[in-house]
């Protein structure tokens, strides 16, 4: 008999997060419907695993009944001894028969439980993988507009934390829901079959305990919430002070920051021990509930046995049943909490899936090939926010092979032009024509193929230098890579690296900003697109290196239509057309000399960089 306590076999918990974090989904039902739809393919598997779990649980429930019978066989002998003083033999063959039956039942139950655990683990992990893949694919289908309002951290947390949470809780919640309900109802049923007096006693005692428990737990919620909040505040403050350490120090802000820290730290201590205490109460309370039922069963059983109403084996069976009966109750509570967590995480994942994607363009058959590089802006109107137009009716025709510069103060919207050229964003009205073809008439991919692009933040990925330069272009030979690097002027540097072109770029390799920029320029050259875009490509490079980068860039733009965004005006003076932007709008356009003569915004901007402070 394993009665005395209501322990649960401890689950190996690998992720010991702070206790008592509870998340709620806004739309619990809707999310679960979506989740079930998402898992459609795996539903047969899940059902099989649930059926297996149910059978396994039924086996477990049969167990105590058999233990009871076995005890009766033994007790019979004692009974005879006490009544008549005779020693008779225990019916060992009957005992062995029951025992063998139990061995089979227990083994089967264990095998079935393992099987269901294995199936569920496989299914949930596969679902997790599919979810991650879908998120990753989705990232590349969303318009850039979406990323203006969402932080990267948010998306990353969906890929890892949320999907992980779904994988974990889905596994635990569904199967434990089914087994718990089966266990709960099954053991109640078996208790009533055995003896209804004792069944009522056992259930009554347990229920009193659980009502008590749930009352305490309901009260404790606010402490958990407070602890979460305080923990968040402490962590936020620590993060802020550590990352601004220099400033905090030099401004003598340390004392004040220390005061704030002590304050939030004390608050966390207060809510921390309270919630820890309450969650620590859970275990002893559960034990108490179990013991209460256990004592009740013992006493009532003893009374009934003395009256001769029941055999002793019933008590033995009940001692196990009371454990089987109370155990699923706490598991149920946990399963429901898990369902909530699954829904909360699922909601965030599905929210992401449901974001509107870019239009499907597979129907567009027209294609730009071998273009000259003539661009025409025709009555272009655009605003990131449809109600707030920032480019009003802009028209301009750019001949093939010309250099167009876009200038303006910080935040003037210079990058907007690039966004529109590349069709990262769609126009409100008007057209951008490439060689006379509206860019919306062909697919986005096709438009983007026409441009080579170098941006201010040099984007390199973890991979070899060669991989970074070739990127996704097919059919590039090593000679071509070397040739390009020579043209860019980074060939010598690369050859000084220990693995040359096969040097892996990661956190450890320290390329200077300028060298990184040269690699991205090489990448754009390999691309060999008819037009190029250089978006502040030199502004994060110090001025001596800039010289090199400039040279590489003029190699890159040779013979191609090029768009250059720059904040150093001296670099774009020789442009064929300068577009001057301010506050999102194109306010002037012309050549350097024309604009200077005009004496407008550009002239002012240009002169300001050399003016001496009086």
């Amino acid at each position: 008999m394993s009665g005395n306590r209501t322990e649960r076999a401890p689950k190996m918990r690998m992720r010991g997060g702070p206790i008592g974090t509870e998340e709620k989904a806004k739309d619990f039902k809707g999310t679960w419907v979506k989740l079930i739809k998402y898992c459609k393919k795996y539903i047969p598997g899940i059902i099989v695993s649930l059926v297996i779990a149910t059978i396994g649980t039924v086996f477990t429930i049969i167990g105590p009944d058999q233990i009871g019978k076995m005890t009766n066989e033994i007790q019979k002998v004692i009974g005879v001894l006490m009544a008549t003083g005779q020693t008779v033999d225990v019916d060992l063959s009957a005992v062995t028969k029951i025992a063998m039956f139990l061995v089979v039942i227990y083994s089967l139950s264990a095998i079935l439980n393992f099987l269901q655990g294995y199936i569920m683990a496989t299914i949930t992990q596969t679902i997790g993988r599919n979810m991650r893949t879908d998120i990753s694919t989705k990232i590349n289908k969303l318009p850039l507009k979406y990323f203006d309002k969402v932080s990267f951290g948010d998306i990353l947390s969906r890929v890892t934390n949320d999907v992980d949470a779904i994988g974990q809780t889905l596994n635990q919640s569904i199967s434990s829901l089914v087994t718990s309900v089966t266990m709960f109802l099954g053991s109640a049923f078996m208790m009533f079959v055995n003896n209804w007096h004792m069944a009522l006693t056992a259930i009554g005692a347990s229920l009193i305990g659980f009502v008590l428990l749930s009352l305490i737990m309901a009260k404790s919620q606010k402490y958990f919430k407070r602890q979460q909040k305080d923990l968040g505040e402490v962590n936020g403050h620590v993060e802020e002070v550590y990352s601004g350490h220099n400033v905090v120090k030099v401004y003598n802000g340390g004392k004040e920051a220390g005061r704030i820290f002590d304050d939030v730290n004390n608050r966390l201590y207060d809510s921390g021990w309270k919630s820890q205490f309450i969650s620590g109460l859970m275990m002893p309370l559960m034990m108490f509930v179990g013991n209460l039922g256990y004592v009740a069963v013992c006493v009532v059983g003893a009374v009934l046995a003395m009256n001769g109403t029941i055999q002793f084996g019933v008590i033995a069976a009940f001692m196990i049943y009371i454990r089987l009966f109370t155990q699923p109750l706490s598991q149920l509570a946990q399963a429901f909490q898990n369902l909530q967590r699954t829904a909360a995480a699922g909601e965030r994942v599905f929210e992401f899936y449901d974001e509107p994607e870019m239009d499907d363009e597979s129907g567009k058959t027209e294609k730009l090939t071998d273009i000259k590089g003539e661009i025409e802006f025709r009555n272009v109107r655009f605003g990131y926010d449809p109600d707030k137009t920032i480019i009003h009716d802009f028209s301009s025709k750019i001949e093939a092979g010309k250099k167009i510069a876009i200038v303006g103060p910080t935040g003037a919207g210079k990058t907007t032009i690039v966004n529109l050229l590349m069709r990262f964003y769609e126009l409100n009205s008007g057209d951008i024509l490439i060689d006379g073809v509206p860019s919306t008439a062909v697919s986005r991919d096709n438009v983007q193929e026409q441009f080579g692009m170098v941006l201010q933040d040099t984007w390199l990925f973890e991979g070899t230098i060669k991989e970074n330069i070739i990127y996704c272009k097919d059919g590039i030979t090593d000679e071509q890579v070397a040739e390009t690097c020579k043209a860019v002027g980074i060939d010598h540097f690369i050859s000084t690296l220990p693995q040359g072109y096969d040097t892996v770029l990661d956190d450890k390799t320290s390329l200077s900003q300028g060298q990184k920029q040269l690699v991205t320029i090489a990448r754009a050259m390999i691309q060999n697109a008819p037009m190029t875009i250089l978006d502040e490509a030199t502004s994060s490079v110090d001025t001596r290196t800039e010289h090199l980068v400039q040279k590489a860039m003029s190699n890159l733009t040779k013979g191609r239509t090029s768009f250059v965004i720059a904040h150093r005006l001296s670099t774009i003076k020789n442009a064929d057309l300068i577009l001057v932007m301010n506050k999102g709008d194109i306010i002037e356009s012309g050549t350097h000399t024309e604009l200077l003569e005009k004496g407008g915004f550009y002239a002012d901007l240009y002169n300001s960089q050399f003016e001496q402070v009086s």
């Binding site: 394993s2 020693t87 990753s136 905090v248 401004y251 196990i320 983007q448 003016e611």
Partner: protein
């Protein structure tokens, strides 16, 4: 892990000892109640027992249970208080320690790592202490005590229990050996997948411009498959654990009764009843022994992680700050805003080559000194020596005629208005960000803040925000733009009314126009304050009183713009890349 315990105060040790008493009491009560169970069994079997005796035994059992609950509640209380008090103390110690660190220690640990150590690692330790206090102590006591109780009651039963424990231990060891390493590996696989995703996100425009979506997705799939493979392995392996635990528990009940049947059969008349009641009791004790071992294993499974956390915390606590406070509160009388470098050299510990060598210059009150040079020339490092982010390894730096090392930190910092390259913005309001810190001259007034903001060209920021100066600023200033942050950071330095401004490349994020306006205002409104400027653009420093040109940590030129154009090759190179020929020949003054 043990080292962490020395941070417990005597009061908490006392609490721990008291809890130990209660734990012993609890175990005693838990083990006592089966004895009443045995009594009841005997009573039921003996014809003619009084009903009252059963009620008494039952009542005693209930009392034991209640007593055990009470003891558990008390232990739980102490455990929670001790755990939380320790974590509060550790958190504060860690915080204060980091506060005292100079850049050298911070760079060594990295800021991110220090943040994790002060947050997650401490939470880990708190959990293991609170749980450990209850379980680590209780489990072995219960196990040994229960074993001694059952040891005399039947060798066969004891052996069965021993076998069950052995199976459990083997399972545990196997899992620790085969599965735990995979769990550890998992973190790096998750990091890897995160990296690939982040790569795609930060390079969105490039990925799309190069139509490299498929390339990136293929990369992601590889990382994803690798992660899924490991996760499948671990979760399948863990699926084995529960059934094994269940079968051990069911199995032990079954064996006790099965063995019991044979024992009773073999026993004589007199021994039969005691053996029978022993059997009932034994099944309970055996279960308790097994449960204790399970608890212990749970702790052991958690221990490695907590140990790593504890080690990481201790590492920080045992690191001494390399820069120490001085005693002086004043500079030499009558000297203000003067900075002198005398043969200053600087070398990072363990570095082969010095970053700075033989730096000599003096800047007097109200003057502007600028530092220019290519990346890695040491200009930022040089300027960071003044507020002692690092200490010079050679020579000395004098502020107002006194070596910076002799000043009390507060006194030195009150002389300085420092603006870093990347603006630091705190959670709060525009006002609290500008009026940040303490300059030893009392609270900043509203006028101070307003003047500072207007000098820093920040009026439009304040006007564009809903509550003006009281507008909320999010942590890290995520709700304002980069240029705005930089101007607020400059306003903060102005508001401080220091003797010396230090601008570490603070103007590069501003466009030329704002840059010029801001510098003009600074010059006019805050006369008499010395400026030290690190810059990239010639335009920013063209009118400085002294320009110091650095190359590979050495001064290669010093003078005014015009002189340097003639005398300094490096300076000329920088200038050529930024200015056109005619601008150069005009001496840099256009229009």
């Amino acid at each position: 892990m043990i080292k962490i315990l020395k941070y417990l105060k005597p009061k908490e040790w006392l609490m721990a000892v008291i809890s130990l008493g209660f734990i012993v009491a609890q175990v005693w009560l838990d083990l006592k109640s089966p004895e009443y169970m045995a009594e009841i069994t005997t009573l039921v079997q003996t014809p003619g027992s009084a009903m009252g005796d059963i009620w008494v035994a039952g009542g005693m059992m209930l009392l034991c249970t209640l007593g055990s609950l009470l003891a558990a509640v008390i232990v739980g209380y102490y455990a929670a208080v001790i755990g939380s008090a320790l974590s509060r103390r550790l958190r504060r110690l860690l915080y204060n320690r980091v506060d005292s660190f100079s850049m050298e220690e911070i760079n060594r640990f990295t800021t991110d790592s220090l943040i994790t150590r002060s947050t997650n690692d401490i939470t880990q330790v708190q959990m293991i202490i609170a749980m450990g206090l209850q379980l680590v102590i209780k489990a072995p006591i219960t196990a040994t005590w229960a074993i001694t109780k059952i040891a005399g009651k039947g060798l066969e039963w004891t052996m069965a229990t021993g076998a069950a424990v052995l199976i459990m231990l083997i399972t545990f060891v196997l899992i620790m050996y085969f599965v735990m390493p995979k769990f550890r590996k998992m973190q790096s696989l998750i990091d890897n997948m995160n990296r690939v995703t982040r790569e795609n996100l930060t390079g969105l425009r490039v990925v799309r411009a190069y139509n490299a979506e498929d390339y990136q997705e293929a990369k992601f799939d590889r990382a994803n498959d690798e992660l899924t493979g490991t996760q499948l392995y671990t979760s399948r392996a863990m699926a084995i654990v529960m059934p094994i635990m269940t079968i051990i528990m069911s199995g032990i009940s079954l064996s006790v009764f099965w063995i019991g049947a044979y024992l009773i059969n073999a026993a004589g008349a007199a021994d039969r009843l005691p053996i029978f009641s022993n059997m009932m009791v034994f099944s309970i004790y055996a279960m308790q022994v097994i449960m204790s071992f399970m608890m212990l294993m749970m702790i052991f499974a958690m221990l490695p992680r907590a140990t790593v956390s504890a080690k990481r915390i201790c590492e920080v606590l045992e690191t001494e700050a390399t820069i120490h406070d001085g005693t002086r509160t004043e500079g030499l009388p009558g000297v203000f805003g003067e900075v002198t470098f005398k043969n200053v050299g600087f070398k990072y510990p363990d570095a082969a080559k010095p970053v700075l060598k033989d730096i000599n210059f003096t800047v007097r009150q109200g003057e502007t000194i600028a530092f220019i040079g290519s990346t890695g020339s040491g200009k930022s490092t040089l300027i960071n020596l003044v507020p002692r982010f690092f200490d010079a390894t050679e020579g000395e730096i004098l502020v107002d005629g006194v070596n910076v090392k002799e000043y009390k930190f507060d006194a030195l910092f009150n002389k300085i208005g420092y603006v870093p390259q990347k603006a630091v913005i705190f959670k709060g309001t525009v006002f609290s960000n500008v009026a940040y810190g303490d300059n030893g001259k009392g609270e900043f007034t509203e006028t101070d803040v307003k003047t500072a903001v207007s000098i820093a060209q920040g009026i439009d920021i304040v006007e564009s925000m809903e509550n003006g100066y009281n507008a909320d600023v999010a942590q890290g200033g995520t709700n304002i733009s980069g240029g705005q942050k930089q101007r607020l950071a400059i306003a903060r330095a102005v508001c401080r009314k220091p003797e010396i401004y230090i601008f570490d490349d603070s103007f590069s994020a501003l466009d030329y126009r704002t840059d010029r306006l801001l510098r003009t205002m600074l010059k006019e409104e805050t006369k008499g304050i010395t400026s030290m400027i690190v810059a990239q653009r010639i335009g920013t420093i063209i009118d400085a009183d002294q320009i110091i040109v650095l190359d590979e940590g050495k001064i290669v030129g010093c003078g005014k713009h015009k002189d340097l154009l003639k005398s300094c090759e490096v300076y000329k190179e920088i200038a050529i890349s930024q200015l056109s020929e005619e601008e150069l020949s005009e001496g840099g003054v256009a229009s």
